[in-house]
Symmetry: C2
């Protein structure tokens, strides 16, 4: 059987080609009875409009691009994978597709996205790994490309230059700190990262705020370490903190928390039923080992970003300069009990 | 400045529109001097052909699709992420783009890919998660969509129905077994999965072959367990195997291996400098903890699959029915020493 076209459908139905086209592209222009009849025939015929022809006519490819990074030598990449899956799902529900790109640097990323935009391959892009003095959003917007970001514009005063959604890391570590305070701990340490990244500083701030709000003395804020994001580093950091009197730990990552778990066990601290340790990112390894952890709720983040960005792309709002264009989501604390693997 | 077009470029250079088009699309038809002059002018002008127009003319979108799955509740998803990154990179080098799709089932995946193909959005697709009686390749090929797979056609007799690349899991566990045999172990257990998946059976076979080739008695092959793919399960399985006399373990995953590591340590078995345990997939957690593991070399797999599939798409070979269309890659054994975290 020959594949149906607009013309063959129109002939079969006794309407004009334009009417069939309108049913597909501007249904409000067509009388309801006609619209229903034509739509039913289109569905029955298996007609699929060619996306290249649609793209040329509408000047929209219904495709967005996002860069993926090489897997880091840690266990935290799992968060971006979860985000990616839910993003593709949320975009699919709104008729958009996601193209992946790789790049060697932020400059290269801008070049790659610019080139795809100039060729009409993409309508917009989703940036991740936001950082201080991140000029990607303005450079790409100058080129006419629609931009959104999973990650807030760190240190920017004009936070409304593009649509963004982020997770409030400080709120997460504060919840973790309050959880440990409620369990009776007063010497709660923080295991952070060496590189003073915005994300890392944000997570430390939540712990500080939690301790201050509980009225703990200023010296409680000194019970912290900075290290690379590895098991072994978390183990060594926790050993130092234990010798300084720590009785619980909030960690910037699950990698650090798992190292800390081992240090606590060797020190003979009761880990049953719950370890006085909270990780961050709720990675599969946290659930596999029974470690409590802060969950970024990336499903919600993917949905919130998709809803805002696709509404903006179809010019039904919000604009990047409106308050609705930005959103900080509250993460959740997942409290777990350790399996017998970690009990004495 | 107005964006250059084929016509404005041709006028500027004093050649026909067709000549400029030929330089872009069929350079072998143009005299070398003209080709160089026109190519230089195209580059200098910043001209970018519209991909939708190219797609309509060439009936090729230069875009492929691949389904991504939700992150599993384990630590092994990291392998697919590494594959994905290298795949996008390898495709980029050959002018192809990768679109991600999500689906609820294999049937849904076929429907989604078929629809994208009928709309001219994709030229081909990359399947993963091959399984016995997998009818996706033939169903999609019947529809005219080019198909390749990361994963061999398990249990199929006509293995040449589509291009595929896979990693030889049995070769990996055999290497792991030989490594432990060389270290003097004779009671080498295998920790496998409960679901008798093709991948799991393949990994077990490599261990069996290694033991048989070393001339060990048949009862050595009974030193194995099946469990779910979790730390705790690996720990419990290893405890049972240790009480049956095991002195080393080859595992179907890093999750199981990390559980086994803990069981060996509690039993007082020397883990220094190297644990007599080998995991599978060389996940970030293996490198973070100092665990030896079989690496699937997914970078090579992504490159091999991309090279074969893009050559096939541009009709420069190999065809799926040729031997060159299929390839089984040999994984590597990464031997590590444990950090002090796991030493007594």
């Amino acid at each position: 059987m020959k594949r149906p076209t607009l013309v063959s459908l129109a002939r079969e139905l006794g309407v004009s080609r334009q009417t069939v086209s309108n049913v597909l592209n501007a249904p409000h222009l067509v009388k309801p009875e006609t619209r229903e009849r034509v739509q039913a025939a289109i569905t029955a015929s298996g007609y699929r409009p060619n996306v290249a022809a649609q793209s040329l006519r509408k000047r929209r490819s219904m495709t967005l691009a996002m860069r993926i990074y090489p897997t880091l030598d840690g266990i935290n990449g799992a968060v971006m994978d979860r985000f990616l899956h839910h993003l593709v799902d949320a975009l699919r529900g709104r008729g958009y597709h996601l193209l992946l790109v790789t790049a060697d640097s932020f400059d290269d990323e801008v070049e790659v996205l610019r080139d795809m935009h100039e060729r009409g391959r993409i309508d917009g892009c989703i940036l991740t790994d936001s950082h201080v003095d991140d000029d990607r959003p303005t450079r790409l917007a100058d080129d006419g490309l629609a931009v959104c970001a999973f990650g807030r514009p760190w240190g920017r005063t004009d936070e409304a230059s593009h649509i963004w959604v982020d997770v409030d890391g400080a709120a997460g570590t504060r919840k973790a700190t309050e959880h440990l305070l409620r369990a009776g701990h007063r010497r709660i340490a923080f295991l952070g990262w060496t590189d003073s990244s915005d994300v890392g500083n944000d997570r430390r701030r939540g712990w500080e705020d939690g301790l201050r709000a509980a009225g703990l003395p200023g010296e409680a804020l000194e019970l912290r370490t900075e290290s690379v994001d590895r098991f072994q580093a978390g183990f060594e950091a926790a050993e130092r903190l234990l010798s300084r009197g720590a009785d619980a730990a909030v960690c910037a990552s699950d990698s650090l928390a798992l190292g800390a778990l081992e240090a606590f066990r060797r020190r003979g601290i009761t880990l049953f039923p719950r370890a006085p340790i909270v990780g961050f990112d709720n990675t599969p390894i946290a659930s596999a080992s029974g470690l409590s952890s802060v969950d970024q709720c990336v499903e919600d983040a993917a949905e919130a970003l998709t809803a805002r960005f696709t509404a903006h792309l179809s010019r039904q709002g919000p604009s990047p300069t409106s308050e609705a264009g930005a959103r900080l989501l509250e993460p959740e604390l997942v409290v777990r009990e350790l399996g017998s693997l970690f009990t004495p």
